[in-house]
Each structure stands twice: as structure tokens, then as C-alpha cells.
């Protein structure tokens, strides 16, 4: 299999789907002439023309709402937010219009659209530009939320998200765009709402998604050198959450750590922790541990920033804790 970057994987998914279906268009800031703020849409303007790859002014509420409106009458918009921090300006369009249209219309309308872009902390961008917002979107009935952790997953899941008839929040990461990984040649999709086991193991279950998958696989390598075999489980889609494989894994390992770079309060991590505690209660040999961002706005200072996020050390400590080691 060829190795490509996360960025290239997304670009391929966009291009392949746009080739397949002319109801798809991309709108967002700097997506066309500039070739994408993070170069994810590179070459798409040249290939598909300015009617389908559209530069928008800095008006997230406006162009996200235009996307919802276009989707209501049969187009399949892909709205790129330069980062999900800016989606907060469009949150009314996403929560009140995209997510609820089908419900409010009694099933008369659907909103087949993807809102995608980078999410989560990058490097020293401080509080407004460095936050993982998936829990906010995952809270909302009517939305689907996808957070891929590898180039292969990103491509396969994005193609499914574009073909999905519901509004899908698709969250990437600035610091993952250069991440390389093997991606199958030719056409493939990965279904939404299916959890994937990224590494088999028998001693402990570590749940992670998005950027945290790489960190947790690294931690699993360290644990293996200590004779601990971690099973790494990646839900990939946070809503709807396929908790079956997570619960099955915990029933086997009896121990669970959930890793997320979002805040801990009322979060995807706490939801997974609750479901494991509830559905695998009799199998647990230790309380579920969460490794999340610290419950603070992101500081600019590099050392503070590093320590505000999940680290290899924090993941290893949590694993040791549920195994009652040290």
C-alpha cells in the first residue's frame, strides 16, 4: 500500500467524491485560489472549477447557513471551516438548522452536508485557537461526529460522510495533516458508526480517537516492553457511538483508560467512561480512568501547553494505575 499524508488522503476523498457526484461543492475560506489554508483542497479549483470550489468571505454563519439551505434542496455541500474554533461563529446554523431540520419538518427535509476542518490544539495558538470541541457537537441529536486518527481512516470515513444523508461534523487536525500512513489504492469507504480495534491486547483497554490514537499506540509499545499488552480501541465516529466493541474489549481486559484531548467535564471521554462503567460493571477490576486535557483554557506558554494536554507519561501513569502497578 502506498504511504500518503493525512492531508493527501482527505484531498483524495474530496476529489474522488466530487468526480462521482456533481451535487457536491466545497465552500469555505481560502479553499479555492489560495488552495486551502492548510492545503487540503490543493488542486481542486483547477480540477472542478470555481462553480464547485468556492472561496467565501470570513462569514462562517453566512456560508454555513448557505450550505444548510443548499442541502435542504438537494445539493451536498462540503463546508470547510478553517478551524473548528471558527465554527463557533456558525454554531446556530449547525445546531438549530442543520441538526434539527429533519426533525422539525417531520421528516420532510434532509440536510446531507459535511462540515469539516481541523479541530483540537495545535502549537502555541492559545485559548481561542487551540481547543477540542467534539464534545459540543457530539452532544447534539441530529448531528454525526467523525474524528479520524489515521490517513486511511480519514479517506474512507470522509467518503462515507459525504455520501451520508445527515449533517456530519468531520474533525481533522492541523498537526496531523503531515502524518503519513498506508492507504489502500483504489476505491474504498469505511462506514460511519463503527468502532475499530487498532491494536489487539489482553491486559488493558485504552480508548482513543483522532490525534490521540498515535499517542496511545506509542504508549502501547512502551507498555508491551513492560510485558503489558494493551488493546487500543478507536471509535472513529463519536456520534453515533458504537460502544459494543469497547465494552467487549473491557469484558476481556477488565481495565479501561479513555484518552481525549478535549476537556473532561460532560465530554465524549466521560460518556465512554460512563458506558463502560454501566455496561461492563461486573467485569471491571478498577475504576475507568480518563486522560484528558486539563480543565483550563489553553495557555500560550509552551511548557504550560504541553502539560495541559494528554502526554505519553500521563497515559502510562493511567494504565499503571488501573493495573495497580507502581
Amino acid at each position: 500500500m502506498p504511504e500518503i499524508t493525512f492531508r493527501e488522503a482527505i484531498n483524495q476523498a474530496l476529489a474522488e467524491e466530487m468526480e462521482r457526484d456533481d451535487s457536491i461543492f466545497i465552500v469555505g475560506e481560502e479553499v479555492a485560489k489560495y488552495q486551502g489554508a492548510y492545503k487540503v483542497t490543493q488542486g481542486l479549483l483547477q480540477r472542478f472549477g470555481e462553480d464547485r470550489v468556492i472561496d467565501a468571505p470570513i462569514s462562517e454563519s453566512g456560508f454555513t447557513g448557505v450550505g444548510v439551505g443548499a442541502a435542504m434542496v438537494g445539493l451536498r455541500p462540503i463546508v470547510e471551516v478553517m478551524t473548528f474554533n471558527f465554527s463557533l461563529v456558525a454554531i446556530d446554523q449547525i445546531i438549530n438548522n442543520a441538526a434539527k431540520m429533519r426533525h422539525m419538518s417531520g421528516g420532510q427535509l434532509k440536510v446531507p452536508m459535511v462540515i469539516r476542518g481541523p479541530n483540537g490544539p495545535a502549537h502555541q495558538l492559545a485559548a481561542t485557537h487551540s481547543q477540542a470541541l467534539e464534545s459540543i457537537f457530539a452532544h447534539i441529536p441530529g448531528l454525526k461526529v467523525v474524528v479520524p486518527g489515521t490517513p486511511k481512516d480519514a479517506k474512507g470515513l470522509l467518503k462515507s460522510a459525504i455520501r451520508d444523508d445527515n449533517p456530519v461534523i468531520f474533525m481533522e487536525s492541523e498537526v496531523m495533516y503531515g502524518l503519513k500512513g498506508e492507504v489502500p489504492e483504489g476505491e474504498y469507504t469505511i462506514p460511519l458508526g463503527k468502532t475499530d480495534v487498532k491494536r489487539k491486547g489482553k491486559d488493558i483497554t485504552i480508548v482513543a480517537y483522532g490525534k490521540m490514537v498515535s499517542l496511545v499506540l506509542q504508549a502501547a509499545g512502551t507498555l508491551a516492553s513492560e510485558g503489558i499488552e494493551a488493546e487500543v480501541v478507536d471509535p472513529m465516529t463519536l456520534r453515533p457511538l458504537d460502544d459494543g466493541p469497547i465494552v467487549e474489549s473491557v469484558k476481556k481486559t477488565n481495565r479501561c483508560v479513555v484518552v481525549s484531548e478535549a476537556w473532561p467535564f460532560a465530554s465524549v471521554a466521560s460518556e465512554i467512561g460512563y458506558r463502560v462503567s454501566s455496561k461492563a460493571f461486573d467485569y471491571l477490576d478498577a475504576p475507568v480512568e480518563l486522560v484528558t486535557a486539563e480543565d483550563v483554557p489553553m495557555p500560550y506558554n509552551k511548557t504550560l501547553e504541553h502539560n495541559a494536554l494528554p502526554t505519553l507519561e500521563k497515559v502510562l501513569n493511567a494504565a499503571h494505575s488501573v493495573l495497580y502497578k507502581k
Binding site: 456560508f63 447557513g65 435542504m72 431540520m101 422539525m104 419538518s105 441529536p141
Partner: protein
């Protein structure tokens, strides 16, 4: 008038010969629809007072000429989207009023199966795309619907209704900029009923001639008398033509008045006088239309009376249908959230 505003309607145009070209049947039908909207809402208000309708109920009474005149100027395949004061628009578009009354009653036979209520009337089949309850949030949606028409090279337009207060929302301004920038076939029709809830236009908008507020985006403004169904018809016809033929947006302000409070719980004596309301009622759109039909010998008094009787019967049937309709089954709670 500003450079961007053109005067399209003069009251002396009310009896223009060309309206007769709409045809007698069509003219009587427009009158009938206005009466239906009013009687439908009077029945809704009564049902609300009997607690058969819950939540918010925003009545359109006084503004009937706007929805009816505007819809008459559209083609059936044109799109329409509106805000939460949406009863008149759905009825004008031809939605079965039984389904609408059932929706107000929260019944399973309602247009949204009891999930939407008063503020969320939808009729996708008739291109009536809601019923949207966050002030101004439907303006980008209407713009996106027009975007689709242009993307698919269809000569359809999207008529996007909003209230005067929605013009102060950011979503409105973002949408207008995009519509002008991308030359979209959209008509923004501002129903200026003089108040956003209890706040008069001159206490909310720095510029009170609302049609002028499109000038920042190079969008032509128009103003029309919203109590005169033909004035609305003329203005929307012209704005829709520009959208259809030139793919240009228009900001059309129609000056109208709501007789009732903002919602059923609105003690409107706090912010406006009884005298003001009574004076506005002298311009009543239904009475004006009736005079036109009788004065122009388009309809006889007997026909006018028949309209009233027919509508009375229809509304009674709507209420009966709504009352007798089943509650939504509990398991329907999880329906229609995802496709």
C-alpha cells in the same frame, strides 16, 4: 427615496386594469385565502385560550396581504422560506389547513407530525421550506436555497421572508453580502410590522427606512404597502423577475401591521396605544380587497358572503380534524432525527 429604492406602488394603482388580467377566479381566490388565514388564526387563538394549543403562537392577523400577494407573484416551483410567524405563508402556499391546525394541536396528523408546532410549518412538496424560529437564521438558508437554483442553472427564485427585527442580526448581513457577491436569485422580503416583539423599529434600527439597508451590499431596495395585496404582488413580481432574469437579489420592505400582540402572552398596551392599533385597522387588507372586488364588480356581495361561509366551514373542519386526530405515539419520538 435613496438611489437604491424605487417606488413601485402608489395607492392609486390599486384599481389598475392589469390586476383584472389575473382573472376573476384568481382574484376571488386571493381574497378567500386572506380570509382563510384570518379565520384560521382566530380559531387558533381560541383553541390556545382553551389550552388546546401550547407553546408560542404568533398571529399574522393584519399582515395577510403580504403572504398572499407575494405567493401570487411566484411560480409554483419557486421556493419560499420564512420565520416563526409562518401560518399565513403556509396557507397562502396551499398547504392543507387541516394539517396545519393539527400541527398546532401537536397531533400526529400535523404537517410535522406534532414535532414542530406553530413556529415550524413545512411543506416541502409545495417548496415551503419552513417556519424558522431563531430570528434571522433563515436568511442564510434562503440564500443557500437560491444558491442551489443558480448552481443547477434553474430559473427559480427563493423568496426569503423576515421580520424587521431580523435585520439587526449578523446572519442577515452575512447572507446579504454573499447573495450580492455571488449574484443569487433571492428576494428578501422584510415584513415591517413596526415592532420586533415590543421594540419599535426606530428603537432598534439606526436607519428606519429599512429598504435602504441593502445599500451597503449594492442590493437594490424596494418598498411597498403591505396592507395592499396588489402592491405586494407588484413588488414581488418585479423583484422575482430581477432574480430570475438577472440573478440579482432584492431587499423589499413591505410596511404592514400586526393587530395582535407579538405572541399570545404579549400585553401590547405597554408599547403601543389602542388608538394606534385602531388607526392601522382602517387600512385593513381584507377590507381593502373586498372593496376592490365589489367596487370593480369582480365579485358580488353574495359571492363575498359565500367566501366567508365557506371559510367558516373549512376552519371548523380544521379544528374538528385536529381535535379528533391521534396523539403521536411515544415511539415516534425517535423518528425523523436521522435519515
Amino acid at each position: 427615496m435613496s438611489d437604491y429604492a424605487i417606488e413601485t406602488n402608489k395607492s392609486d394603482g390599486f384599481l389598475k386594469e392589469e390586476y383584472l388580467s389575473l382573472g376573476r377566479a384568481r382574484l376571488v381566490e386571493m381574497y378567500r385565502t386572506m380570509v382563510l388565514i384570518r379565520r384560521f388564526e382566530e380559531a387558533a387563538a381560541k383553541a390556545y385560550s382553551m389550552q388546546k394549543i401550547g407553546g408560542f403562537l404568533h398571529l399574522y392577523i393584519g399582515q395577510e396581504a403580504v403572504a398572499v400577494g407575494a405567493v401570487a407573484a411566484l411560480r409554483d416551483d419557486d421556493y419560499l422560506i420564512t420565520a416563526y410567524r409562518d401560518h399565513g405563508h403556509a396557507i397562502a402556499r396551499g398547504t392543507d389547513p387541516k394539517k396545519l391546525m393539527a400541527e398546532l394541536f401537536g397531533k400526529y396528523t400535523g404537517s410535522s407530525k406534532g414535532k414542530g408546532g406553530s413556529m415550524h410549518f413545512f411543506d416541502a412538496q409545495r417548496n415551503m421550506l419552513g417556519g424558522h424560529a431563531i430570528v434571522g437564521a433563515q436568511v442564510p438558508l434562503g440564500t443557500g436555497i437560491a444558491f442551489k437554483a443558480k448552481y443547477r442553472k434553474e430559473d427559480r427564485v427563493c423568496l426569503t421572508f423576515l421580520g424587521d427585527a431580523a435585520m439587526n442580526q449578523g446572519a442577515f448581513h452575512e447572507a446579504l453580502n454573499l447573495a450580492a457577491l455571488w449574484k443569487l436569485p433571492v428576494v428578501y422580503i422584510v415584513e415591517n410590522n413596526m415592532y420586533g416583539m415590543g421594540t419599535a423599529v426606530d428603537r432598534a434600527s439606526a436607519v428606519t427606512e429599512l429598504h435602504k439597508r441593502g445599500c451597503a451590499y449594492g442590493i437594490e431596495g424596494m418598498v411597498a404597502d403591505g396592507m395592499n395585496v396588489f402592491a405586494v404582488y407588484d413588488a414581488v413580481k418585479e423583484a422575482a423577475r430581477k432574480a430570475r432574469e438577472l440573478s440579482l437579489p432584492t431587499l423589499l420592505e413591505v410596511r404592514t401591521y400586526r393587530y395582535r400582540g407579538h405572541s399570545m402572552s404579549d400585553p401590547d398596551s405597554i408599547y403601543r396605544t389602542k388608538q394606534e392599533v385602531e388607526e392601522e385597522k382602517q387600512r385593513d387588507p381584507i377590507e381593502q380587497m373586498k372593496k376592490f372586488l365589489l367596487g370593480g364588480k369582480i365579485a358580488t356581495q353574495k359571492e363575498i358572503d359565500t367566501v366567508e361561509e365557506d371559510v367558516k366551514k373549512i376552519v371548523a373542519e380544521c379544528v374538528e380534524f385536529a381535535e379528533k386526530s391521534p396523539e403521536p405515539p411515544l415511539e415516534s419520538m425517535y423518528d425523523d432525527i436521522y435519515v
